[in-house]
């Protein structure tokens, strides 16, 4: 196991460098004017302005030169400066990643707990009203477009009923907590500021629900099918024959095995949401990585595109590693060998 982990940890930076190279080169050959984020349309015919900006940002150099300079800086941890925000990409990402992590973690907690619960109910009461209701809820969660469900739920629960807070991580009139982790719920608790914690939580609930609902859909269906399969196994029949209560049979025996196939999907879903929560982030004015990625792509902001890609790749690599390790712990038949 240790050798396996070491091998994966050593391969990871090399993989990231490879990904950075591919993305850098692809974004350089993509059709589009790289100056669009640097020079407004009205100034793009001004030769002096164009020459000055190109020189400032190194865009007057050849592609191989730009590649070598970029990679040279990257290995030193410098992701470059964003064309759009004019700030170091690492600063932009460090400012936005905690917002996305907070949202994704909350969404995963909601999605997993509700998905597992509904999956158990659907499997236990197969082909009953409860099963149908759970599956319909799951189906709606996975099929409703986030931009629609987000807007509708915001309108109902924030505008009309006033039960939850509106867009943003906090009310715009509120000062954020001192930045320790960047997760406002955690930082406000660390600062001992309970009203701020409740406000941050109030802002988190709706976007986490909207994003987590799609996870609920996936998890419910996975758990239901795995559980149904497990409930027909011999060891379940044995447990029942021994007189084990149904809740023990399901929660202690069947669910543990049914969860194993879900681990892979959950790991990848978590990694996907790190950069894939863009619609939720847009609707709820959540300043995360997803909206940064879209903005970078729209404006051909090469340094930001590569930076976000590296974050996404890192999330997938880590999620993959954690899934593999967890899988090995959960399923003793799986051995991780170097």
């Amino acid at each position: 196991m240790l050798r396996y982990l070491l091998r994966r940890m050593v391969a990871m930076p090399l993989l990231l460098l490879g990904i950075a190279s591919v993305v850098f080169l692809l974004s350089q050959v993509t059709k589009g004017d790289p100056l669009s984020a640097l020079i407004p349309e009205r100034m793009m015919s001004n030769e002096q302005v164009v020459a000055t900006v190109k020189a400032q940002w190194g865009l007057d150099r050849s592609l191989p030169e730009r590649y070598l300079i970029y990679m040279g800086r990257l290995v030193q941890g410098d992701l470059g400066t964003s064309f759009s925000t004019r700030r170091p990409v690492s600063t932009d990402i460090a400012g936005r990643l905690p917002a996305t992590l907070e949202l994704v973690i909350a969404a995963m907690i909601f999605g997993c707990t509700s998905g597992i619960g509904l999956g158990i109910i659907a499997a236990r009461f197969k082909n009953t009203f409860a099963d149908s209701a759970a599956r319909i809820f799951a189906l709606i969660g996975s099929s409703l477009p986030v931009f629609w469900s987000g807007l509708i739920l915001l309108f109902i629960f924030s505008v009309k009923l006033g039960w939850v807070s509106g867009p943003g991580r906090l009310d715009a009139r509120t000062e954020p907590p001192p930045g320790i982790t960047g997760l406002f719920t955690v930082d406000s608790l660390l600062a001992g500021n309970m009203p701020l914690f409740l406000e941050a939580l109030g802002h988190l609930i709706l976007p986490a629900f909207v994003l987590g609902w799609s996870v609920t859909g996936i998890v419910t269906r996975l758990i239901r099918s795995s559980l149904l399969e497990a409930l027909n196994m011999d060891y379940i029949r044995t447990a029942r024959a021994k007189g084990a209560p149904e809740s023990v049979v399901i929660l202690h025996h069947a669910l543990r095995n049914a969860l194993i196939p879900s681990l892979t999907i959950l790991g990848f879903t978590f990694a996907y949401l790190i950069t894939g929560a863009v619609l939720t982030e847009t609707i709820f004015s959540w300043p995360g990585i997803g909206s940064y990625a879209v903005s970078a792509a729209r404006s051909l902001d090469y340094p930001a595109i590569v930076g976000v890609t590296l974050v996404g790749a890192m999330a997938f690599l880590l999620a993959n590693l954690v899934t593999d390790v967890t899988y090995a712990f959960a399923n003793p038949r799986v051995k991780l060998e170097g």
């Binding site: 302005v49 867009p167 149904e246």
Partner: protein, 538 residues
């Protein structure tokens, strides 16, 4: 059985505790009462900030930011037409309109308490010119700026320029506290374009004399101002102003209705009409923004097709009234020339009209009785409430009536720009908002005069085919005269630009000002977008 057990476990003794927890949770997550009486003003906006350095910034949000944290020598009055003193208490112009002497307000101080002096004006203007940033063009033609004494500045320009004072009312011509900026890497001399290293500092700090200072900026999230307690003018009642990123019109309307924000800046008329809250005021006001279709006869794929007769036929085929209904639900106005309505020289210009019969006649005379096919490439954007896709679909429909087919190709903005600067685009759609009050900016950008951006794009490799010499002569005369005489020359330029049929304005959309009814002083400004310091709570 499983369900029964779960229910059984939830015994009656748990019920009061659960009810209390639910009540607490409900109270916690229920949004607080927001706007009323708060001394923080919150504005919802989809921000487009490219920089917070006055000499590099060039965007609508930048205008709001710069007019709140910096001041210019002169500014635009609420009538959106006349210039009034700001940092300069008065100014003199020589009869040739080549020398401009400004007398600074003796009370003016920067946010750090130091006085605004002529050296700051000289330094700021030289930096704006030498940095070669996006707004540097405002000072093109400035030959010298001289600090006559601590409170007097004299600017000299190469040739007559009756619009110079208008140009420096643009927010980008802000006066910066030179001592503070120099300390943080700002450079004003001829090496500024390469030697200045202050842009990042300006993203976190302001160095102006405006009613607010920069308190914080998180790109695409929020822009926060704090009241400048050292401000020498009337101080704002708001201690903090926050421009918060809310991407689309519907979300902005929801945030306004829920009380999360006080002002929503980019609501379209349809969304405004759908709001049901009574404590929100919506005003529809004319803007100076406009959206246009542009022809490039010199584009590689259009050579020989877009002759003056064909361009006139295409312009005549457009249903301008229908376009207003189709794109902005009637909440806009037609615009005659590339100079927007209300700017000097636009009074009396003929309104565009549809004439299908004449369009067909012209097309037949030009050798295209059965029409032709062209490609239209444009940014896939929604600007000032106008969806360019919808607008071009209407153009496509109108031109089909005279047998002309256009292949619509919406592109991302960088791809569109790449094509525009490459082989050119036969037909495109773009937009424009003023940088200051003055017609010269439109002539310098849209006129078919050698060297202007649109003459270059329209002419492609053969710019001489589109150049209209009359416009350069008239522009020189407009700059050498003032007042009514100058406006008369701009009027003639407007007529010439209409004849060019290169830029065809389609819609000047109205602006919706949507704000909480307890606010006063919310208005649209042609120079500054939203003058925040004029806003108060009733």
């Amino acid at each position: 059985m499983f369900q029964q057990r779960l229910t059984a476990r939830m015994s009656r003794r748990h019920v009061p505790a659960l009810l209390t927890a639910s009540a607490l949770a409900f109270a916690a997550f229920t949004p607080m009462v927001f706007a009323q009486d708060s001394d923080t003003l919150v504005i919802a906006r989809s921000m487009d900030v490219n920089s917070l350095d006055p000499a590099r910034a060039f965007c609508d949000t930048c205008q709001i930011y710069l007019s709140s944290t910096y001041e210019t020598l002169v500014t635009l009055a609420p009538d959106n037409q006349s210039l009034v003193p700001s940092l300069a208490a008065s100014w003199d112009i020589n009869p040739e309109t080549t020398e401009f002497t400004f007398h600074l307000n003796p009370k003016a101080v920067f946010a750090d308490g130091s006085p605004v002096e002529a050296k700051d004006v000289k330094w700021s203007f030289e930096r704006l010119l030498n940095l070669k940033g996006s707004p540097s063009f405002l000072l093109d033609g400035m030959t010298s700026v001289e600090a006559v004494d601590a409170k007097t500045v004299k600017v000299t320009v190469t040739g007559p320029d009756s619009e110079f004072v208008n140009k420096i009312s643009a927010t980008y011509a802000a006066i910066i506290n030179s001592d503070v900026a120099i300390e943080h890497g700002a450079v004003a001399d001829a090496s500024a374009a390469t030697a200045d290293t202050s842009e990042n500092w300006f993203l976190e700090n302001s160095a102006g004399s405006g009613p607010f200072t920069l308190a914080g900026y998180t790109p695409e999230s929020e822009l926060r101002f704090a009241r400048n307690e050292a401000y020498y003018g009337t101080k704002s009642p708001f201690s903090t102003v926050v421009i918060t990123q809310v991407q689309d019109a519907v979300s902005q309307a929801q945030a306004l209705e829920s009380g999360a924000v006080d002002i929503a800046m980019q609501i379209d008329p349809d969304t405004a009409a759908s709001m049901s809250t009574t404590d929100v005021t919506t005003e529809v006001v004319p803007s100076f923004n406009f959206v246009y279709v542009a022809f490039s006869p010199g584009a590689a794929t259009a050579e020989g097709v877009l002759t003056p007769e064909v361009r006139e036929a295409l312009a005549l085929a457009i249903d301008y009234d229908g376009m207003l209904d189709f794109t902005v639900g009637g909440n806009g106005v037609k615009q005659s020339s590339p100079i927007p309505n209300g700017f000097p020289g636009t009074a009396g210009l003929p309104e565009p009209k549809q004439d299908i019969a004449k369009a067909k006649e012209l097309l037949a005379a030009a050798g295209h009785p059965d029409g032709f096919t062209l490609s239209a490439v444009y940014p896939n954007d929604n600007v000032y409430g106008v969806d360019l896709n919808l607008m071009m679909q209407k153009v496509q429909q109108d031109w089909a009536a005279i047998g002309v087919t256009i292949d619509l190709q919406p592109q991302t903005y960088p791809v569109w720009r790449d094509q525009l600067t490459g082989d050119g685009i036969p037909v495109t759609a773009v937009y424009y908002a003023p940088d200051y009050y003055g017609s010269g900016q439109y002539v310098a950008y849209f006129a078919m005069t050698a060297g202007t951006p649109w003459a270059g794009r329209a002419g492609g490799k053969t710019p001489e085919t589109v150049v209209n010499p009359a416009e350069a002569n008239l522009y020189a005369k407009a700059l050498a005269s003032t007042g009514e005489a100058s406006a008369a020359f701009y009027n003639q330029i407007g007529l010439e630009m209409i004849k060019d049929k290169i830029i065809i304005p389609l819609v000047s959309p109205n602006l919706v000002l949507a704000y909480k009814s307890d606010l006063a002083g919310v208005r649209y400004s042609a120079c500054c977008n939203l003058p925040i310091n004029e806003i108060t709570r009733k």
